[in-house]
Symmetry: C2
Subunit: 301 residues, 2 copies
């Protein structure tokens, strides 16, 4: 399946009418509530609110909703609120977690605590999904936010996390490009040699449900013409569904360049945990928060 | 001085009416000739053609020019043509070199041969100049093409090369941002610690004629709003004239993302040699070649 843009992806998720149950941790903050209510009304999620019950009830009522239609857990302490979300994951009542008004570190400390058994991969990482001008479909990329210099094994885990999410979204066999500075492996660029190894691991069946090619330069990833001019025979060049960044600095800079200067429309989600986690930045707009919720909800099987 | 775009820069260079003499090595190739003739007619350069005299004469005549108005050196062997350009630099008759129809490696091998004494810096590097949507002025960046993992000393040399070129262009004290993933130095990201060192070297007068700040994330470089929201006091954040990339893969990917997906307008030049060198890629359009010539010509004192 291919999604040209967020509108197509949203329509697809709504048509599946699965309404993923989501725990909203420390929900009582207006931007969070606004994004959650909008996502609920779009049929994307069924929120379970954790936070100040009185405030949450007021927000819902002010938005014309009946608070008694929702599960609201009255818990104002951030750490206990996060711990409550973990219990809801384990008893199967939610399939996603979203951060409200608590610090990222407070939430992640609880989620990643080994007793809580929420890690399902050796690597917890971020995946973005971008609608980019002059590219013909949505493209995922990882990791633009968490893993600084992933090793070969960690890159394989990052790919597995992303591929599982993309498979769930409906992209059956994501074309996966390992980004470097050119298509030639260069001993002076270790990332380019790792790209060759990841491709081989895919061919040997060690990384499944995707097609990997690399190393590929940015233009060979995104521009079918460049691939044609260079005479590159590749199932991935010019058409990837997923980009694997060599490191955090590259991923961070490229994704910010796309958003700031190309006005790309992005979203992101945390993977590698039992359920996807939405960690919107403080500065994120309501629209971006809704897109993050959409991506997380779509990433669930 | 600030240039909002290429039009302003072109007007400025033309107004100086300096017509930089340029050696065109292996000039007899139609795209090269077209770009050189256009640059000559715009008063940017005075070409000295090295190549097949008969072909060059024909190109000039076909473009309504009088071949006898130009110096044309009949030399069809690429290595000897490159060596001729070196001699022209040394006797002061040219102040720039442009590659025509020969391989980059053939040309650079001659230019960087130690006997030829053309290196003037410990680092030969590329500098780009970009007109980027949603940024208010032209911005230079280095190195997107040559140095794979520059060391601290090499980064200082890269900055010096770029600052000299920008000073010559008319940008007196370039605001220089050292790109990383955030504004916090992080021991797990060595580039971010080097950014702090480069800033200190600038404050101590070891890197002159510019103001350095770093580490800075991409949004803190290019978005004055982000800098304001983060409460960052910096002369550089939100307003750099020059970006220093942490490594080749980052620089390559960011600059290609800007050109492909943001439709930024770019050019590039090789610095660290006695005269700037124009090395257009085979796929470059005539317009891009003209911009490269403009940048090189502007970079000369």
């Amino acid at each position: 399946m291919i999604f040209k843009n967020y509108v197509e992806l949203t329509d697809h998720i709504i048509s599946k009418a699965k309404k993923t149950p989501f725990a909203i941790v420390c929900a009582d903050e207006s931007h969070t509530m606004e994004a959650v209510i909008e996502s609920y009304q779009k049929q994307l999620i069924l929120p379970v609110f954790i936070g100040d019950k009185k405030n949450i009830t007021e927000y819902l009522t002010a938005n014309g909703l009946n608070a008694s239609d929702f599960e609201i857990i009255d818990e104002t302490d951030p750490t206990r609120a996060a711990q409550t979300a973990v219990s809801l994951v384990h008893d199967g009542s939610v399939r996603g977690i979203m951060k409200g008004k608590l610090d990222t570190s407070q939430l992640m400390k609880v989620l990643l605590k080994s007793e809580n058994k929420l890690r399902t991969s050796s690597v917890v990482c971020a995946m973005s999904l971008m609608e980019i001008p002059y590219y013909h479909k949505l493209v995922a990329a990882s990791d633009p936010a968490l893993c600084i210099h992933p090793s070969l094994d960690q890159k394989a885990a990052i790919i597995n996390n992303a591929v599982t999410a993309l498979n769930n979204i409906g992209i059956e066999c994501p074309k996966t490009a390992i980004l470097s500075a050119s298509e030639s492996p260069n001993p002076k660029i270790p990332e380019s040699l790792e790209a060759v190894q990841l491709k081989e691991m895919n061919q040997q069946g060690l990384i499944k449900n995707c097609i990997i090619d690399g190393p590929l330069s940015y233009d060979l990833c995104f521009d079918p013409e460049s691939a044609k001019i260079k005479g590159l025979t590749s199932d991935v060049a010019g058409d990837p569904d997923l980009i694997i960044y060599p490191d955090l600095v590259t991923g961070n800079a490229v994704s910010k360049a796309l958003v700031l200067n190309a006005r790309a429309i992005g979203s992101s989600v945390i993977l590698g945990t039992a359920v996807p986690v939405v960690l919107p930045s403080r500065a994120a707009s309501v629209e971006e928060k809704v897109r993050n919720i959409l991506l997380a909800s779509a990433s669930v099987n």
